[in-house]
């Protein structure tokens, strides 16, 4: 389900404002990090509910809003991937010594793609339970929603910093 950009924005804004109202009053004293978390939480929940339960990631995000912050860089994981790839290649050629080159490259490519789909699954909320087709559709939707969220927040921040 791909909503047009503007309606999605309006939906998101509506829900976010309501969420912000709610969470502002729950805690009297908040540190800055808690505020940030509260804002992010409200934004994420608003984003997810703006999809009205049509997508898998939105339901997963609402049910489990605390997601680990992406801290690991890609460099480390790619280095690990290379090591794994090399070891597997060696093992595979040892196993089937007469294997053709095409097979080896194909298996390496499959291995790469598999690694990346694993990473993507860890990124998309609720992605571990999807098959590949669903994963790609959810990614599409999630990217558009994230863009809307970023746009709204950025405009809000710039507007508030404009004075």
């Amino acid at each position: 389900m791909h909503l047009p950009h503007s309606t999605l924005k309006q939906e998101f804004v509506k829900k976010w404002i309501m969420g912000l109202q709610r969470c502002k009053f729950s805690n009297k004293k908040m540190s800055i990090f808690e505020r940030k978390k509260a804002i992010k939480l409200s934004a994420d929940t608003a984003m997810a509910s703006a999809r009205k339960g049509l997508t898998c990631w939105s339901r997963a995000l609402i049910s489990n809003p605390d997601r680990p912050v992406p801290t690991t860089t890609r460099r480390a994981s790619s280095a690990c991937k290379k090591i794994v790839k090399r070891s597997r290649r060696i093992r595979r050629t040892a196993k089937c010594g007469a294997a053709r080159k095409g097979q080896i490259t194909r298996s390496i490519a499959q291995c790469l793609v598999r690694k990346r789909t694993q990473i993507l699954k860890s990124l998309i909320p609720g992605g571990e339970f999807m098959n590949e087709v669903c994963l790609i559709e959810e990614t599409l939707d999630y990217i558009t929603s994230l863009r809307v969220q970023v746009d709204v927040m950025r405009s809000l921040a710039s507007a508030s910093a404009h004075n």
Binding site: S6, K9, Q10, V13, K14, I17, M18, L20, Q21, K24, F25, K28, K29, M30, I32, R35, K36, K37, A38, I39, K40, A43, D44, V69, P70, R74, A109, L112, V113, R116, T117, I119, L120, L123, I124, E132, V133, I136, E137, T139, L140, Y142, I143, T144, L146, R147, Q149, V150, D151, V152, M153, R154, S155, L156, A157, A159, S160, A161, H162, N163
Partner: protein, 360 residues
């Protein structure tokens, strides 16, 4: 008839038949059977069968005559042999017409499908895709054709592999894969996927290929969505870009929420200039300045932010009916504050949405 059938079968397995026997064919009722079958009413069940038989018997004979290669003969021979195979049964024509749906010939055609393809392809290119239909056919044909002798089938099996390679270079007009099983062109309720040249045709690989095509279509959409992915080829690299994009968007959300958390609550909004074009259409008369706070907030630190909230909240509930008369202030609080002052969240939401719409 059976003796002739036997001879023709053996002949087809071996070499080019000589003309004498072909002529003998014609003299038999065999060709009469063929003609009768050709002219049989074309029900949907028998459509493939009649399409099979569109090739008139004379052409079949000519093909039999042609010394070009074994494949052509065998390609055409099944048209002849299929009849013979069916003639083993007492009720040939009835069986053929009744079971054409389940492709009587597919039983034998399991072994020589590609042979039957070439004459067929000229006639029916469009409807010939039977990936999952293939599954049903062998089951039925096995049950319906128990009498087909095994040695002949085995011979055909052996020859099929050779023919598969030869047929690829065939000069026939068939454009689609000659490995396709075209015995049955029925409109079964299955997904029709065209098997391409040189690709396996068993149901598993076909289903997997359909799935891969779905995935590839969606990957193309993703490539268009993510900037800079159009020029990249290769699934792994595209996935890399997508992952980077998603991670960057998520990090942006984090940063922006942190930035919003530190925002100074004192903001100057020129709300009236934003709202006057919208006021008549979207807002109630009394709620027009609802986004305008009646108070002038002093500069406060972040810690004082929350106290303002509560203060504002209590104040606004008291001042609810007076808002219609408030004038626009120069100092505005953040949007959150101003919205909290509104009496109905729905109104505020629409107003805020409109305002942001103007901004965005």
């Amino acid at each position: 008839m059976e003796s002739n059938a036997g001879t023709t079968e053996t002949r087809s397995n071996v070499t080019v038949p000589d003309g004498g026997e072909v002529a003998a064919f014609e003299s038999l009722q065999f060709t009469d059977e063929i003609h009768r079958l050709i002219s049989a009413p074309g029900t949907d069940n028998a459509s493939s069968f009649t399409a099979l038989l569109e090739l008139p018997a004379t052409q079949v004979v000519e093909l039999l005559h042609s010394p070009e290669s074994v494949k052509l003969i065998v390609a055409s021979a099944p048209n002849v042999e299929d009849f013979k195979g069916s003639f083993h049964f007492p009720s040939n024509t009835g069986l053929i017409q009744k079971d054409a749906r389940f492709s009587v010939f597919s039983g034998e055609g399991n072994n020589k499908n590609e042979k039957s393809n070439s004459p067929e392809m000229t006639s029916k290119n469009s409807s010939a895709n039977l990936e999952k239909a293939v599954k049903s056919e062998p089951a039925e044909t096995v049950s319906s054709l128990p009498l087909v002798s095994d040695p002949t089938m085995e011979n055909r099996n052996i020859k099929r592999k050779d023919r598969e390679k030869k047929v690829k270079g065939s000069t026939k007009k068939s454009k689609t894969a000659t490995n396709e099983r075209l015995e049955d062109a029925e409109k079964l309720p299955y997904v029709h996927v065209r098997a391409r040249r040189g690709q396996a045709t068993d149901s598993h690989s076909l289903a997997e290929r359909a799935r891969r095509e779905k995935i590839n279509a969606r990957m193309k959409l993703l490539q268009e969505l993510v900037p800079g992915c159009n020029k990249i080829s290769g699934t792994a690299l595209v996935l890399d870009e997508i992952i980077n994009h998603v991670q960057s968007l998520q990090r942006q959300v984090e940063f922006l929420s942190m930035r919003l958390a530190t925002v100074n609550p004192r903001i100057d909004f020129n709300l009236d200039s934003l709202f006057t074009p919208e006021s008549g259409s979207t807002m109630d008369g009394g709620n027009f300045p609802s986004l305008v706070t009646p108070l002038i907030w002093p500069d406060v630190q972040v810690n004082g932010y929350r106290q303002q909230f509560q203060h504002q909240w209590h104040f606004d509930t008291l001042k609810q009916p007076i808002w219609g008369r408030e004038e626009v202030c120069n100092n505005y609080v953040t949007l959150e504050n101003s919205l909290l002052s509104c009496d109905s969240s729905a109104n505020s939401a629409t107003l805020h949405a409109n305002q942001l719409k103007m901004e965005l």
